[in-house]
Symmetry: C2
Subunit: 699 residues, 2 copies
Amino acid sequence: MKWLLCFLVGGIVSLVGFCNNLAVENVAGIKFVVTSNMMLAQRSVMAFVVFSVSNLTLTLFAALITAFVSSAAAGSGIPEVKAYLNGVDAPGIFSLKTLFVKIIGSISAVSSSLLVGKAGPMVHIGAGVASLLGQGGSKKYGLTSSWLRFFKNDRDRRDLITCGSAAGIAAAFRAPLGGLLFALEEMASWWRSALLWRAFFTTAIVAMILEALIEFCNSGKCGPFGKGGLIMFDVTSTEVSYHLLDVPPVLLLGVLGGLFGSLFNFLLNKVLQVYNVINEKYRGYKILLACSISIFTSCLLFGLPWLASCLPCPADAEEPCPTIGQSGNYKKFQCPPGHYNDLASLIFNTNDDAIRNLFSKGTDNEFQYSSILIFFGTCFFLGIFSYGIVSPTGLFIPVIVMGASYGRFIGMFVGSHSTLNHGLFAVLGAASFLGGTMRSTVSACVILLELTDDLLLLPLMMLVLLVLKTVADAFDSNIYDHLMKAKGFPYLEAHTEPFMRQLTVGDVVKGPLQLFHGIEKVGRVVQVLRTTTHNGFPVIDEPPLSESAVLYGLILRAHLIELLKKKAFLSYPMPTGIDVSEQFSVVDFAKKGSGNADRMEDIVVTKEEENMCLDLHPFTNTSPYTVVETMSLAKALILFRQVGLRHLLVIPKIHGRSPVVGILTRHDFMPENILSLHPALTSRWKRWRLTLPRWLNPF
Amino acid sequence: MKWLLCFLVGGIVSLVGFCNNLAVENVAGIKFVVTSNMMLAQRSVMAFVVFSVSNLTLTLFAALITAFVSSAAAGSGIPEVKAYLNGVDAPGIFSLKTLFVKIIGSISAVSSSLLVGKAGPMVHIGAGVASLLGQGGSKKYGLTSSWLRFFKNDRDRRDLITCGSAAGIAAAFRAPLGGLLFALEEMASWWRSALLWRAFFTTAIVAMILEALIEFCNSGKCGPFGKGGLIMFDVTSTEVSYHLLDVPPVLLLGVLGGLFGSLFNFLLNKVLQVYNVINEKYRGYKILLACSISIFTSCLLFGLPWLASCLPCPADAEEPCPTIGQSGNYKKFQCPPGHYNDLASLIFNTNDDAIRNLFSKGTDNEFQYSSILIFFGTCFFLGIFSYGIVSPTGLFIPVIVMGASYGRFIGMFVGSHSTLNHGLFAVLGAASFLGGTMRSTVSACVILLELTDDLLLLPLMMLVLLVLKTVADAFDSNIYDHLMKAKGFPYLEAHTEPFMRQLTVGDVVKGPLQLFHGIEKVGRVVQVLRTTTHNGFPVIDEPPLSESAVLYGLILRAHLIELLKKKAFLSYPMPTGIDVSEQFSVVDFAKKGSGNADRMEDIVVTKEEENMCLDLHPFTNTSPYTVVETMSLAKALILFRQVGLRHLLVIPKIHGRSPVVGILTRHDFMPENILSLHPALTSRWKRWRLTLPRWLNPF
């Protein structure tokens, strides 16, 4: 059953990824061919108008559907998925609507020549497909199927979504191992050996289906630009050899990657803060913002190549030069016959083609220093400003483009002093920038190795990643942590802060505690549910039901609402012999699909009913995890995080008082929350953080 | 600091791995050249005598040092390391003595032409190096260094040993990613994102150092056979292409891998049981067993090639044929000039060379069906009987040899119907058998991909692994689980058995519970420590020290012994104002290196002292993890496993009795133990297991 689901997830994600690539290739390809043809006919102004209007239309479409249909589809979606896998449920991220907007929006945003990627959205799409399959389709649109309802629990759904996100990366880059490691390193908060194998299965399915689809496309049935539909960079030099002389430039790349990556994260974060202010004001501003970025991008992409001088075509070029009509290494742009514009080859092109050009070997003299520099600057600038617009946007491809460009620059600079060709330098540069922004070193390495299909590059790439990780961690943390913090997700880190060791659980428990008795008045239940937003409540038994007051267990809000809905009330506050639970089937208490939970507002209880009672015993979880109030907070957090809890009950050390002292949730463990309760710690903590720079304590 | 240690681990392990390979290559190479030269001189009998006597000597040496110096070095060591990482401390596995025996013994066992591998011992060596570095050298031999003593706690040592085992695989196969994934999939029971990165760092160091050493050896300074010292198979065909027609034979390989793998596990298990009976009787029998296996192996290796007919050398051979003097594809053996013996090329050769020959491309017509079949049968047979002998033995290489041989056989059988060459079939076969025995599918796949440096093979290999995992899991579990069970390690599985959900923690708590008071008589402490073997004791406070009896915490045996050793006694059973803990430094309570723990027998306490008291309060862990006695056993196990505990205190639900009901350790959670306490469950459980075959529930 789980295999079948993984198979389906793999299959659907690979098909979506394939169609996505194909659509982008064809839409963008036609756009570039039309404008290039106009350039050939010397009608530059007309070409610019067509180029910018088509870009604007595509961007506008992406922004409109994102803003008005599903705003959860904006951005890359990786922070949301990562937070979900940590246990934070952001509203609507896995609905069918979001999935749909994400697919369509991603295609149009990427084809509109914005500097945004498709890999991030693919992760979200993969997770969304997995979530929908896991909950048996979308109830809202009647697309349910009953036989897929086996996964109504958190763990199975989380596992499936992990597999889905692995499949997303695998489909975006045709990198099954990279996808697996990305899901493992970056996405998942809990990991089991069985999950490794299941994620591997899913990415294997993706790889096999993509392989078959590429075979199919090679026969030319995928439209005029469908052949290279799946990015597969071609640096397969027969023999990669390198020696000690290559180490200094490679180290330099690592340092640069760390510096640029941190700078990029910092600037992106600042820009997103500004954007958030704009976006919150009014919907219209968002759209306006997206449109202005699009127009600005069009101007840059079209205008900058005029700055570059035309170069004569090399005599020994392996491809036709200048390339007419199709994407290729040597764009003609405004140049006379027999010449090409090297900047246009990079900038007036799809991002995939730009990466392919930068990674290509045997073209060591293709680019000028100035062109590469302009290209890098433009990309850095556009990358920072494009990510935050209201449409599905990814970061992977822009980051790879930037990294490849400065890698190539270093390669040209080192020139003949190195045995590596410039394409390999570009690959190493891409690895360094990818690692610098995302800090997912292992998966970045594997993804690029799979893209370039060259395992001999591994030691050099590892060297780059080691250096940059050291450099970059001295400045800040990875981009997804920034984004999650910006969105306010209470993400639970695996490590504990030092000050937590000085506190006990009792120090952070906040009152007043809402608890229920084993037999509780309906009126009280309704009142408590209406006035609080807690999701779990301790249930205690008091005399005469038990000898002394004891903790019976924990009951969930969702289950209480279900009880109220079914009106399984007792007339007297005494346990009857009748088993109330027979009125319910297992399905009633199954975890609802996201967005389908019953709400308190829909429950109507009459005055008479309010005086009746509810026997909570059959519906209470009698084995909740508990900690004694004197337990150190750090240890309680380890328990909470490792076991993956939502509620942790705190029991008193000495009896005589209530059998339960409090209840801890995720928010209680957030450092910000703890520090607000104990302001004295803040100054000490800050001092601690200042005296001990991050790079001294990187693990 | 941790980086430096990882760097040292990576460096030392790669050097050891390199020397290991070099020694094996040279010892075995000289042996084969000498015998081959005698064969050339028509002195076959003499050749056989030299061959078998040298093999016998080497085996005897390995067996003797293993039996008399460190018996913990026998076998591959992977089960021991895996159990250690799960929390089971087997005696002496990480001592310097064991490490030394493992290195020397592994070299001589592998060079003695036994069908044993060096990868398993390399994992143990890697873990041993990491452990010794982590505890700051070996105290016993005075090789300590104080600045390496920072890691006197379980978690850091475990992390470092995980990195060490990853480095072991990386050094054995020159497969950094494979090593990483192997440690992740097969070895580690707990995994953190930071550990992933640190293990990656370690394997990267290994890869880089090996790269440099190979560069060094290429200049010919590593002895006559040192060039190919590190196995690096050469199947880099320029273009791997395949289509649907190749799928059926690949599926067949998967099925075969599953079947053979399970059969191999089953037979190996049976043989090991017999061996255990022999080994337990008397040390001499062990040595005799090893010697007889060696003689038997020599006979087979030397005798069988005579059965094969001589083949004429192919005209278009890429290497000299027949190969004289050195290892190569075309062994001359007894054949006339211009002919070669294909079986001798496989069987009368080092395992590495046999694998290289099987994996080689462009040699599709080199082997006869009969030779491959004889080779496979011999290896299967020898592999089962060789593993259990008393010397360091690995399973990886034998398994790869067997898998490659039946893969090649299938390749020859399919012949021209497939576009894949026979070398690729051999690789797929190796993957299938590796997966079939070890079930470490993901890492098996990555290791072989790195060996063959061909990522395009990935989808096919994934297909093989999917099929075989399905087939093999229907029969039994992986070989390491078998081995750990045979050795009696209480390995804690990540999943819970269904019957655990029906039991509460209270059902498995065993009496009588030994507990201490906050102020305890020295005599009682000594008596309890002498009569029990528990490692942790609950400490309670009773009136008049507290209002009512409360649980104060948990104290460890090691700390009690330290207290007794320092004689920090009180004359009166009352807490004094003096802080006893000032007499101790942090180092006293640091985790001792393996084998260095103080023992109870060394403690001498006089009669007067026995009447004195100990204040345990300052030395008690006041935040032990606790569960209420009504907690479900399954949930308690999840807590125990996920947080990585050694002791779990059980507290009563209703007060009035003692504040602690019992203490749970690893052994209490073993299914065998629980079933022996509740025999009624056994029959039900067995029925459950029978009605639900494993393959229905493979995750």
